[in-house]
Symmetry: C2
Subunit: 171 residues, 2 copies
């Protein structure tokens, strides 16, 4: 079994998935990991919507592309598209979403899966077409989306990027 | 050795520290974990400032208290106060800070340490008194602070809070 630091260091962003589905028992483990990430003031008001329906995933792909005026926008044929939504008035909604995503990245790595943080919905969650899709998957109008993830088995593992950030001691 | 899911589930927010210092070799491991958290567009522009000087930590405590008009504001006699700063114009600075903090939480748990996410600096990093302290620890004026952490050995481990968030499948 890999130790924590190995898992942290072998985590990658994956943009190329096998067609293989992800078993529900593994998705349940990922959800357990996500929910154990902290929330500001222990509010625990994130909603996790796990979309496995390929047709609906394709609709999100096309409407994000259109909303952001992109070309060839892709959700990488992911078998799972996870949307994290939080109350519109949530003070720490973005931070709460981010820490859950980091736990998901690590748990996915642990189970041999790969993920990609999808950052585009936060720029278009209230356009009419995207909101219709959010309603289709039962996300209420008073919730907004700061982060989403594709999750699946990686076709290949990209090389690790060199780490260049610095730290400084003040003693 | 604990497995990842155990570490994720035993992570706690710690607000009560022993006076024991944290060895530099463990702090180096924590920094390695923090830097392996992703950044938007792989920008890698976080700066980690690790303050071990008790007098400077106390100054931050008193100036945060004053800036936010609080009473009895406490950094819990932490032996280590870590500030994460990012460029002022960073598009994903808050998310980049949050994922690094989550890795730090988990790595700290792994090494028997405890942490608390300090959220107050983001409300006052540009007040004159706080900016003077940031300058004192060599954080440039063009960087801002969305998150900080206290890190030390926990005096006791609080009980885990029950998890109440929900997830839903769309298949």
């Amino acid at each position: 079994m890999k130790d924590l630091i190995d898992i942290i260091k072998t985590r990658r962003t994956i943009r190329n998935y096998k067609t293989e589905k992800v078993d529900r028992d593994i998705l349940e483990k990922l959800m357990e990991a996500a929910k154990h990430a902290p929330t500001g003031m222990n509010n625990q008001n994130r909603r996790f919507t796990i979309i496995e329906n390929a047709e609906i995933i394709k609709k999100f792909e096309r409407e994000i592309e259109s909303a952001l005026n992109r070309e060839d926008y892709s959700l990488f044929n992911t078998p799972v598209f996870l949307i994290i939504s939080v109350p519109r008035d949530s003070e720490n909604g973005l931070a709460d979403t981010a820490v859950a995503i980091q736990n998901l990245y690590l748990a996915a790595t642990y189970y041999g899966l790969g993920c990609c943080w999808i950052n585009q919905l936060k720029h278009c969650y209230d356009t009419r077409e995207i909101r219709e899709l959010l309603t289709l998957v039962n996300i209420p109008e008073d919730e907004v989306v700061y982060g989403a993830m594709t999750i699946g088995y990686p076709k290949d593992l990209p090389e690790s990027k060199a780490r260049i950030e610095k730290h400084y001691y003040i003693d």
